[in-house]
Amino acid sequence: MRKYSVFAVAREAMRGHRGWEAQWTSPEPRKEYDVIIIGAGGHGLGTAYYLAKEHGITNIAVLEKGWLGGGNTGRNTTIIRSNYLYDESAGIYDHALKLWDGLSQDLNYNVMYSARGVMMLSHNIHDQQVFKRHIHANRLNGIDNEWLTPEQAKEFCPPLDISRTARYPINGAALQRRGGTARHDAVAWGYARAAADRGVHIIQNCEVTGIRRNPDGSVAGVDTNRGQINARKVGVVAAGHTSVLMEMAGVRMPLVSYPLQALVSEPIKPIFPCVVMSNTVHAYISQSDKGELVIGAGTDQYSSYSQTGGLQIITHTLDAICELFPIFRRMKMMRSWGGIVDVTPDRSPILAKTPVQGLYVNCGWGTGGFKATPGSANVFAHTIANDAPHKINAPFTLERFRSGRLIDEAAAAAVAH
């Protein structure tokens, strides 16, 4: 495949851009592959890419029910950070962060990873205790995360209201400077192009309807709306729909799928230089390169596969945004949308082998999967190639719910006392 570069762009500009090749093709599925990945989002396409690049496995099909990158990859608010508390979480998210830095060059596709900094606001003593715990743990894990005073927070993000008269005044913030955003579609497309270039088949509009098993119980392949496709290894990477697919193999999952909404404002000239999150008032916000304020809302309270949610979720999010950034009250919501997130009891993902030989699962990222994309894909590829987890994802088993060895990032944030 021809390399992308400024010279290639210039050359094509001279001839009306007639020379660009398809970034990926749409092949007919073969009868059999070495590995089938179900789900062509960033994690699934990335898994195929790393299987091909690092493990020499290229006879791979990535099956996608709709269009590639159309799930949560293309619906999220693109926040990237790695300042998680537990060693296990920090391990996988920082693995991802290191891969983000250099991903454009690796894929020869500008994914626009922008380390503009992610700032998490502290509103009370309890927040401060929790953030300090994160900062100290991160530091000893070699992960950047620093405490800012309210004044420093305002300097980093000028639209922020730090007045003491706010309903929930800010008493500081935790800043990860390496955190930031990336262009979500480009991540899916970049992985798709790079994987296709290495021979991976990306088969869109191909819905898996069953998982086939050998008499010994091991995986034999899948049934799809485009026929039976065989493979001895199948990886399920279908955020939101994991339970449905795993049920086809008789595996019941510790997951619940919730609607998650997000919205963008009309585009404006640059005013918001970083990413800001607040758990206390429930809001996160950044500004896209196109100028829109990108705002993430919370999940609805009920399980759903509808990819829509209630207006009250949006209004509560905007309450919080406007409380933190009163200057945005006259801004306008231009578009809102929804995705489906699958959530585990401890809010940490599952990247693991399953009780079914040859069946692997990567799920449970909740609202935060995008940031992990390269790291998750990289270690999941390792897990599939070696039929054994990488040491980074070894703790993220299915069995931890039985034993009680949870990785409870949510509990660690605890509750106000």
């Binding site: 029910k65 709709g66 269009w67 159309g70 869109q204 509009n205 819905e207 729909h241 339970s243 449905v244 049920e247 019941r252 999952m253 510790p254 997951l255 619940v256 799928s257 309270q301 009920y302 399980s303 759903s304 596969y305 509808s306 990819q307 829509t308 209630g310 207006l311 009250q312 929804g338 699958d342 009891p345 719910f401 039985r402 034993s403």
Partner: protein, 114 residues
Amino acid sequence: MLLIYCPYCEEERSELEFRQAGDAHIARPTNMTEMTDEEFEAFFFLRDNVKGLTFERWRHLNGCGRFFNAARDTVSDKFLTTYKAGLPKPDLSTLRPATEAIVETYEATESDAK
């Protein structure tokens, strides 16, 4: 914002008055201490997470305060029925009117975008 029929208030009310409370018909075993780790895992952590008809609990928190059960389609988010806590699962055949088309979702629409 859903509209939910409370079987105790005998009226449809805004979702704002309710809190969802997870899956219905998962009885807490009376012999808790005799359960195996696998059984406890299945009881407390594993969920069907149905795409389609699901049975779930709601509490009319800012209303009559009662927990009750609902049968809802997780694809359309439509309620098929709600019923008081303690009642058995209603008969499915009476719940889904044969004439009612399965609702097309955005997702279906988007998946059609080939």
